[in-house]
């Protein structure tokens, strides 16, 4: 009897300890986080192929920081030194441009997407943002992001970034419970549990896969060959695929199109924000097509390096 009782208690106890450990884990790494804020920048200028070595070097220096904080500036400087070989060329050497062999296809779909989202859908997005309070929209985004937590968790693991994985796990546990099924991002209050954005494209980049070439997809927007493969990986890790896929065990009860309706709903819910970000790139641009392409590539390279 007592044995059965302890076994019953064992699982909640385990869960609790995991929760506590992930929480503490995040908190202990304050100094490391600080150092990591320095690290991404030199990595950003490097090619993706070099990025793994950079990240591999980072833990070594963070340990030094944790043990001897006084050494922090020194460590940071030595780490950046190889990244900028000739100081005058910094940020001036044109980085390896991503080829654009499908220029005409891309430009056509860029124009189509621009007309569709920035033209046709903009009034709807504006109306939606006007009618639905921001808190509700953010809540829906939070809930969806919490729901697709497996994508980020799995990719953090695939990148062997256990700190990020534990962070994602901690966020999922806290937000699913205290955050009412993810509607409220409670975990964000802790700077060490800031939202992440790991995806399969970044995982491929982390292991040295380059951008490939630039491609614009109808409705989905800018991407690269690598990130397109990444999208397929993300779809495979998305719980929606498994709940509503044709192979799901409750096939008849869960029609396949629900997964697309939910994904489309998330895109529409975010459209006011997406358009804002889009405008920030396009409005000051002299050549909007190139501006969006470059912003996408830069954004993704930065995401891979982090």
């Amino acid at each position: 009897m007592t044995a059965a009782l302890s076994r019953k208690r064992l699982i909640p106890l385990l869960l609790l300890s995991v929760l506590v450990m992930t929480g503490c884990n995040g908190r202990q790494k304050t100094s490391k986080d600080f150092d990591k804020a320095v690290a991404p920048t030199p990595a950003a200028v490097q090619t993706p192929a070099q990025a793994p070595t950079q990240t591999a070097a980072a833990p070594a220096s963070t340990e030094a920081v944790a043990a001897k904080p006084a050494a922090a500036p020194v460590a940071a400087v030595t780490q950046t030194a190889p990244a900028a070989p000739s100081a005058d060329d910094y940020a001036e050497t044109p980085y390896k441009p991503t080829p654009d062999p499908l220029y005409y296809w891309n430009k056509t779909w860029f124009k189509f997407n621009d007309l569709f989202y920035s033209g046709l859908m903009r009034p709807f997005a504006k109306g939606y943002a006007f009618v639905v309070p921001k808190q509700v929209r953010t809540g829906l985004t939070n809930a969806y992001q919490n729901f697709i937590f497996p994508i980020r968790f799995l990719n953090a693991l695939l990148q062997l970034d256990f700190k990020k994985a534990s962070k994602e796990f901690g966020r999922f546990m806290i937000n699913s419970t205290l955050g009412i099924g993810g509607l409220v991002d409670v975990a964000k209050a802790d700077p060490n549990l800031a939202p992440g954005n790991e995806d399969f494209g970044q995982t491929l980049g982390r292991w040295g896969v380059g951008d490939g070439f630039y491609i614009v997809w109808p409705l989905l927007g800018p991407s690269t060959a690598r990130d397109t493969i990444g999208m397929a990986g993300d779809a495979a890790a998305n719980p929606l695929t498994w709940i509503f896929g044709p192979w799901s065990i409750y096939g008849d009860d869960n029609p396949w199109y629900w997964s697309y309706i939910i994904k489309g709903g998330d895109v529409f819910n975010n459209l006011p924000n997406t358009l804002e970000a889009y405008d920030a790139v396009v409005k000051p641009a002299v050549d909007p097509y190139t501006a969006v392409k470059d912003a996408y590539i830069q954004y993704r390279r930065n995401a891979v390096s982090q």
């Binding site: 320095v38 904080p69 950046t80 044109p94 441009p97 953010t138 790139v281 641009a285 002299v286 050549d287």
Partner: protein
């Protein structure tokens, strides 16, 4: 004895942490002073009043102009193409590009409400250059913005990196693309048209 050692270590750690925090660096100092000045101008009630607004706006533009090195920014935005411009074209390019940036970003700056700027790190880029990482926090959003500054008799910004996207790099791609088919004069004209 053990206790004494652990306390000593703790004190040293705390001391080191404070010292490291205080060592913000000269570029951060210059930048934060300038940002504070700009925020103070925007928070000034005179900015809201319609009669004093033009004067305040001129002050704001002057304050922004002080911290930005428009010539360096333009030179880098053109990259190697800069040398293909005649000095006269360079001058016109700097003016037109400056107005374009001013017009597009002034609205953004003026929409400032109560965002807080947090200065994270200053990184030496070598050759009298530094990168200051900041985080702008407001309305439940956090935007990482890094400023790259160069020291030429005072630190001045020559690039802004928002969410990992460098402004200069973004424009260099655009100008590079345009200059493949168009003359410098045509590109300058295009920039000038853009602002109207």
């Amino acid at each position: 004895m053990h206790r004494f050692v652990s306390r000593l270590v703790l004190t040293l750690v705390l001391l080191a942490a404070t010292v490291a925090g205080a060592q913000a660096g000269p570029a951060t100092d210059t930048l934060s002073q300038s940002v504070d000045k700009i925020i103070a101008l925007l928070a000034d009630p005179a900015y809201k009043a319609s009669d004093t607004r033009p004067a305040m706006r001129a002050k704001l533009i002057a304050a922004i102009g002080e911290i930005f090195d428009m010539k360096e920014l333009s030179r880098r935005a053109l990259g190697p193409e800069w040398n293909k411009f005649t000095p006269e074209q360079q001058e016109r390019f700097v003016a037109a590009f400056g107005t374009l940036l001013e017009n597009t970003y002034l609205d953004k700056i003026e929409s400032y409400t109560d965002e807080k700027v947090q200065y994270l790190t200053e990184q030496d880029l070598g050759g009298g250059k530094a990168e200051v990482s900041t985080k702008v926090m407001g309305k439940g959003k956090e935007i990482p913005i890094a400023y790259r500054l160069t020291d030429r008799g005072g630190w001045k910004v020559y690039d802004v990196v928002i969410e990992g996207v460098s402004l200069v790099q973004n424009y260099r791609s655009q100008f590079g693309q345009l200059l493949m088919n168009e003359s410098p004069d045509a590109v300058i004209a295009k920039i000038s048209q853009k602002r109207s």
